[in-house]
C-alpha cells in the first residue's frame, strides 16, 4: 500500500485498520477500505499517464494535466485485475465554454480534442498509439442529444445501448492519421433542470446525515432507479467505529425490498463497521433506508487538526445489475461522502490543566520548603497562652 501511495503521490497509507473491513471468503480474506477525501494534485496524474503506452502520441497525448484539473469533475482509476491486467480509467466532466453558468446558454458545437487539450493547443486531433494493438474512442451520447448531434467525421460504428437511453459512436484510431471529431448540436441545447440519466444506467445514490451538533443522528440513504427494469444488487458500506451505529433501528421505505446481508460492528481503533444490504428497486422507483447512530468520544490524539470542521465519511458503494438490460457487467454507483460533526473536546484544556497543576504544585512545594527550611525558635513564653487558649 505504501508503494502504491508513493507511486501515485496519494494518501493510500492512511487507509489503516480503522478504515479497512476484512471479510473471510473461503480461505481468503477480502479487504475493503476507502478514504473519504483526497487532495488532488497534478502529481497524482503524471505517474498515471506514464502507465499508458505512448506518452507523446496516442490517448495519453490528449490528456493535459492543467486542462484536466480545470474540469468540473475528475476521477482517476487504477484497477489491477489478475492475471497481469491493468485497467486505467479517467473520468472528466467538462462543460463547454458558455455552458458553465447554469443559465440558458446554447451548446452549439464543440471539438472533442478541445475538451481535453483546449483550443489554445491548436487544431490538434486524436491519433492511435503505435504501441497499442487497438486504439478506440467511444462517444456516449444521451439518446435525446444524439438525435440532435451531427458528428464530423462520421463514426465507424454507431450503436444504441442502455435500453435505448444512450448512443455510442465508435472511432477506431490509427497511429498514422489524425482524427478531429467535431460535434454540432442543432437546435442548441439548454441545460435541463432535471438531471439526465446517469452513466450508471439510470441509478443514482443519495445520502445525508440527520441530527446536528454532537447529538445523536441518523444515516439516510436513497437509491433512485430512473430506468425501466428492476435493479438488484448489493450495497456495501464501511465506516469508522467512532459512529456507534444502531443497526437494529434500520427502517426502509419505497418501491423495493431490502435484506441485511452483513451487520458487523466495528471496534474503535481496530475495525470499522461493515454493513451490507441486498436491495431490489423497481423501475422508476426509489428505495430509502435509514438507521440511527451516536457519536463516540475519541481520544485527544485521534482528532485531526481541523476537528471542528467535522469528519469526512467515505462513500458507500452499490454494485447492481438491471433486469432485462442488454448491458454487460454490473453498475457501480457511489454515494456522496458526507461531513459529520462530532463531539470535540476543548483542545486548550491540556494547557489549562498543566498551568493549574503547576500552580498548585508550586504553592504546595513552596509552602513545604518554607516550613522545612525555617529555623526553629524557642517559644517558651507562648506555652501558657497556648494551653489557656485550648
Amino acid at each position: 500500500m505504501a508503494d502504491v501511495a508513493g507511486l501515485f503521490c496519494a494518501s493510500f497509507e492512511l487507509v489503516g485498520a480503522d478504515e479497512t473491513a476484512v471479510v473471510a471468503v473461503a480461505a481468503q480474506e477480502l479487504r475493503r477500505g476507502s478514504l473519504a477525501s483526497e487532495s488532488v494534485c497534478t502529481e497524482n496524474l503524471t505517474p498515471w499517464l506514464k502507465l499508458i503506452p505512448g506518452r507523446s502520441v496516442g490517448l495519453a497525448s490528449l490528456i493535459k494535466p492543467l486542462r484536466v484539473f480545470n474540469v468540473k469533475y475528475f476521477a482517476q482509476f487504477v484497477r489491477f485485475r489478475a492475471p497481469g491486467t491493468l485497467v486505467l480509467d479517467l473520468t472528466l466532466v467538462h462543460t463547454p465554454e458558455g455552458l458553465g453558468t447554469g443559465r440558458v446558454m446554447p451548446l452549439a458545437n464543440f471539438a472533442l480534442p478541445d475538451l481535453l487539450v483546449g483550443r489554445e493547443a491548436g487544431p490538434g486531433g486524436m491519433r492511435g498509439s503505435p504501441l497499442a494493438d487497438r486504439s478506440m474512442v467511444v462517444l456516449e451520447l444521451d439518446a435525446q442529444v444524439a438525435d440532435a448531434t451531427t458528428l464530423e467525421p462520421a463514426p465507424s460504428q454507431r450503436r444504441a445501448t442502455g435500453d435505448g437511453m444512450r448512443v455510442d459512436a465508435v472511432y477506431e484510431l490509427e497511429s498514422a492519421q489524425n482524427v478531429r471529431v467535431v460535434a454540432t448540436v442543432s437546435p442548441p441545447l439548454a441545460p435541463a433542470l432535471t438531471p439526465l440519466p446517469s452513466a450508471a444506467g439510470g441509478v443514482s445514490l443519495d445520502r445525508h446525515v440527520s441530527g446536528s451538533g454532537g447529538g445523536p443522528g441518523g444515516m439516510h440513504t436513497c437509491v433512485v432507479n430512473s430506468g425501466r427494469g428492476t435493479v438488484r444488487g448489493k450495497f456495501e458500506d464501511v465506516f469508522p467505529a467512532y459512529i456507534v451505529a444502531y443497526f437494529h433501528t434500520l427502517t426502509w421505505t419505497g418501491d423495493g425490498t431490502l435484506r441485511v446481508l452483513r451487520r458487523q460492528h466495528g471496534r474503535l481503533g481496530s475495525a470499522p463497521h461493515h454493513f451490507e444490504l441486498a436491495i431490489e428497486v423497481a423501475g422508476d422507483g426509489e428505495l430509502c433506508w435509514s438507521y440511527e447512530f451516536d457519536k463516540e468520544f475519541l481520544h485527544l490524539n485521534k482528532y485531526p487538526p481541523d476537528a471542528h470542521r467535522g469528519f469526512d465519511l467515505a462513500s458507500g458503494v452499490l454494485r447492481a445489475v438491471r433486469d432485462g438490460s442488454d448491458e454487460t457487467g454490473e453498475l457501480v454507483v457511489y454515494t456522496p461522502s458526507v461531513l459529520l460533526h462530532v463531539v470535540t473536546p476543548d483542545f486548550s484544556m491540556p494547557y489549562n490543566v498543566i498551568t493549574l497543576t503547576c500552580t498548585v504544585m508550586a504553592l504546595f512545594f513552596g509552602s513545604m520548603f518554607n516550613s522545612l527550611l525555617r529555623k526553629p525558635t524557642p517559644a517558651a513564653d507562648d506555652q501558657g497562652d497556648d494551653d489557656g487558649a485550648e
Binding site: V104, S212, G215, H308, L339, H341, A379, A389
Partner: protein
C-alpha cells in the same frame, strides 16, 4: 506553627466567616472588576487579513445589479398558480420562477405553526422557498446559507410596485421583496464566479400573515414573523423526515448540500436604508465564530461602508446608557458597557434577537445584516429602497461568501465564547470568568459562614432529640421548594412536550445531571452534621440552614450554568449577590426589636425568593418554558 500564628489564623477564620464584610468586599471588588474589564481591553480584536481575498475585483457594479434586476422582475410575474391565496401554491410558483431564472432547482417547503392561544387548535401555514446550488469546485459536503424573510402575503404588493423593469423608481416596496432581489443577484453572481468552493443555499422564509397581524396583541417575540420560517427550514434540514405533530410541523426537504458552514441573513425594512448593522446573538458557546463577525466587518469596510454593532433593536441599550451617564462614565466606556450588559441580558433570556438566531440550536454560526431604516422626514424618495441599497447588501454578502468559501475549517472555534462590546471589540470569556467568580464568591462566603454557624449551633446544644426535627424540617422545606417546578413539568404534558421541542436534548441531559448531582451533594452536606448530633434547634438555626442550602445550591447552579449560558449565570450571580449581601446580616430575627424583626423578616423573605428562583429546578423550568 507558633501560638501567635494560630491566634492569627483563628482570628482570620472568625473574621472571614462570622462577618458579612468579606462577602461584601468580594461583591464590591467583583462588580468593579466587571465594570472595568471592557475599558481595559481595547485591542482584543485581531484583523484576519488572510480571510480577506475579497479585496480584489469581486464587486458588483450598479450596472451589474441593474441588469440582473431587469431580467429578474419579469420572471417573477408568476403564472396563474400565484393567483391562489394559498402559500403553498404561491411558494411553488415562486420556486418555479426562480428555477427558470437561475437554472438552479428551487423547491417549496411547507410548514404549519400551531396558533398560540388558539382554542380550536388551528394551524397557520407558510411556505419557504429554497434552492441549492453546488458550484463545480464544491464537493457538496459543506454549504453556506443566505436567507431573507419574504412574507408571501406581501407578494402582491411587490408585484404592484414593480410593474415594469424601471429601476430608478422611488416607489416604496416591501423590504422582503428587495431582500429577495439582493439574494438573487448574489446567487447569480456566485454562478458566474469560479472561486466558490462551497455549495450555496438560498432560503426565502415565509411567515404566516397571522403572526404579523396578531403579534402585538399576543405579545409574541418581535422576530417571530421573520424567524419562524427559518426555524422550520432548519429543523427540516437536520430532521430525518417530516414533522407531522407538535407545535411546528413541516414537510421533508427535497435537497440538501451537506453540513451547514454558516447562515447569513439579511433583514431589510420597508423604507430606505440609513445604515447597516449586524446582529450577533446566540447562546453562549454557540455564538457565531468570531471569524464570521470579523469577515463581515472587514468586508463592509472594504466596500466603503460601515457595519455597526448592535442593531437598533437593542431596546435595553438606552436605559443602560442613561444609567451609566448618571454614573459619570465616558460615552465610549458607556457604549461598551451598555453593549456588554445588553449582550449578557439577551443571552440570559436565551431568546435570539436576530432572525437567524434560531439556527443556534443546531450549532451553526449565523448573523444577520440588518438595515437601519431611515426616519420619516422627507418625501417618498427618502423612503424608497433603492438599487444602491441592494448593491451594497449584495456586495457585502458576496464578499463574505468568498471569504467563507476560502476557509478550510472553522478557525478559532474557541472564539465562540465571548461578549461583543462593539463591532471591533470583543471580550473573551476567559477575561470575564475571574470578575464573575469574584461575584459568585460573595454567595459562597456567605453560605460557608451560615453552614459553620449551623454546625456550631447544632453541636453546642444539648442532646435533647431535636436532630430529627431539624433534619426533617430542612429536608421538607428543601423538597417542597424543589418539588413544585418538577411537578409542574411532570403533570403538564403540553409544557413538557414544548420544553423538549425547544431545548436541545444534550443540554437538558447535562443540566439535569448537574442538578441531580448538586442536589445529592448538598443534601449530604447538610444532613451530615445533623446525623451526628441530636439537638433541638432554635428558629434562627433553621433559617440559617435554609439559607446555607439555597446559597450553596445557587453557587452550584451558577458555576454549572456558566458552562451553558454565561449571560444567564452572570445575571443570576449579580441579582443574588446584590440582594443578599447588603441585607444579609447574620442576626436572627428573634434577637432584635419588633421593627428590626419585621424588616429582617421582610428582607429574609426577599432573599429566600431570590434564592429559590435561582435554585436548580426553577432555573431548569424557567429555561425550558422560556
Amino acid at each position: 506553627m507558633g501560638l501567635a500564628s494560630r491566634r492569627c489564623l483563628r482570628a482570620a477564620i472568625r473574621a472571614t466567616f462570622a462577618s458579612p464584610l468579606p462577602a461584601l468586599l468580594a461583591l464590591v471588588v467583583g462588580l468593579t472588576w466587571v465594570a472595568l474589564v471592557p475599558g481595559l481591553l481595547n485591542s482584543t480584536y485581531v484583523d484576519e487579513n488572510a480571510l480577506l481575498p475579497n479585496a480584489g475585483a469581486t464587486t458588483l457594479s450598479r450596472g451589474d445589479v441593474d441588469r440582473a434586476l431587469a431580467s429578474l422582475r419579469p420572471t417573477l410575474a408568476l403564472g396563474p398558480d400565484a393567483a391562489s391565496p394559498a402559500h403553498a401554491a404561491l411558494g411553488s410558483a415562486l420556486a418555479t420562477a426562480l428555477a427558470t431564472r437561475l437554472g438552479v432547482r428551487f423547491y417549496s417547503h411547507g410548514y404549519a405553526l400551531h396558533a398560540p392561544r388558539a382554542a380550536d387548535g388551528s394551524m397557520w401555514a407558510g411556505a419557504n422557498v429554497y434552492g441549492v446550488y453546488t458550484p463545480p469546485r464544491a464537493d457538496g459536503k459543506e454549504a453556506i446559507v443566505i436567507t431573507t424573510a419574504l412574507p408571501l402575503a406581501d407578494w402582491d404588493a411587490f408585484l404592484a410596485s414593480t410593474p415594469s423593469a424601471s429601476l430608478d423608481d422611488a416607489a416604496a416596496r416591501p423590504g422582503g421583496a428587495v431582500g429577495l432581489e439582493a439574494l438573487v443577484v448574489v446567487a447569480q453572481a456566485v454562478q458566474d464566479a469560479r472561486w466558490m468552493s462551497r455549495s450555496l443555499i438560498v432560503v426565502l422564509t415565509d411567515a404566516p400573515a397571522w403572526v404579523a397581524d396578531h403579534r402585538p396583541q399576543l405579545a409574541l417575540p418581535p422576530n417571530l414573523a421573520r424567524s419562524i420560517g427559518l426555524q422550520a427550514w432548519m429543523d427540516a434540514y437536520y430532521a430525518a423526515g417530516p414533522a407531522v405533530d407538535g407545535h411546528l410541523r413541516y414537510d421533508a426537504l427535497h435537497a440538501r448540500a451537506g453540513a451547514l458552514l454558516a447562515v447569513l441573513g439579511i433583514e431589510l425594512p420597508d423604507t430606505g436604508v440609513a445604515s447597516w448593522a449586524m446582529d450577533v446573538v446566540g447562546i453562549d458557546g454557540l455564538l457565531p465564530n468570531m471569524d464570521l463577525v470579523n469577515v463581515v466587518v472587514q468586508v463592509a469596510n472594504h466596500r466603503g461602508s460601515a457595519v455597526a454593532y448592535p442593531s437598533p433593536r437593542a431596546e435595553l441599550v438606552p436605559y443602560l446608557r442613561a444609567l451609566v451617564h448618571v454614573a459619570g462614565m465616558t460615552s465610549y466606556h458607556a457604549r461598551i458597557l451598555c453593549n456588554v450588559f445588553s449582550f449578557l441580558a439577551v443571552q440570559a433570556a436565551s431568546v435570539p434577537r436576530a432572525a437567524t438566531g434560531v439556527v443556534a440550536a443546531h450549532a451553526v454560526p449565523a448573523l444577520s445584516l440588518v438595515a437601519v431604516p431611515k426616519e420619516v422626514t422627507g418625501g417618498s424618495a427618502d423612503l424608497a429602497l433603492l438599487t444602491t441599497d441592494i448593491t451594497l447588501a449584495a456586495n457585502t454578502l458576496l464578499a463574505t461568501l468568498r471569504s467563507l468559501s476560502n476557509l478550510l475549517e472553522s478557525l478559532h472555534a474557541s472564539f465562540r465564547l465571548y461578549v461583543l462590546g462593539t463591532e471591533r471589540l470583543f471580550i473573551s470569556y476567559g477575561d470575564y470568568v475571574w470578575p464573575l467568580a469574584c461575584v459568585v464568591a460573595t454567595a459562597l462566603l456567605a453560605a460557608i459562614a451560615a453552614y459553620l454557624r449551623v454546625s456550631a449551633g447544632i453541636f453546642a446544644f444539648s442532646r435533647s432529640g431535636g436532630l430529627r426535627q431539624l433534619a426533617l424540617s430542612v429536608l421538607c422545606v428543601w423538597t417542597s421548594v424543589h418539588a413544585v417546578p418538577v411537578l409542574v413539568l411532570a403533570f403538564l404534558p403540553q409544557l413538557h412536550h414544548l420544553a423538549h421541542a425547544l431545548v436541545p436534548p444534550l443540554f437538558a441531559s447535562v443540566a439535569a445531571l448537574a442538578f441531580a448531582a448538586g442536589a445529592v451533594w448538598l443534601t449530604a452536606l447538610v444532613a451530615l452534621p445533623a446525623v451526628v448530633a441530636t439537638l433541638s434547634p432554635p428558629s434562627h438555626l433553621f433559617w440559617l440552614s435554609i439559607k446555607c442550602i439555597m446559597l450553596l445550591e445557587a453557587v452550584w447552579v451558577i458555576v454549572c450554568g456558566s458552562l451553558l449560558n454565561l449571560g444567564l449565570s452572570a445575571v443570576f450571580a449579580l441579582v443574588l449577590c446584590l440582594l443578599y449581601v447588603p441585607t444579609g446580616p447574620f442576626v436572627p430575627p428573634s434577637d432584635a426589636g419588633p421593627a428590626r424583626t419585621a424588616i429582617s423578616w421582610l428582607l429574609n423573605a426577599l432573599q429566600l425568593v431570590v434564592m429559590v428562583t435561582s435554585s436548580p429546578p426553577v432555573v431548569l423550568a424557567a429555561s425550558l418554558l422560556l
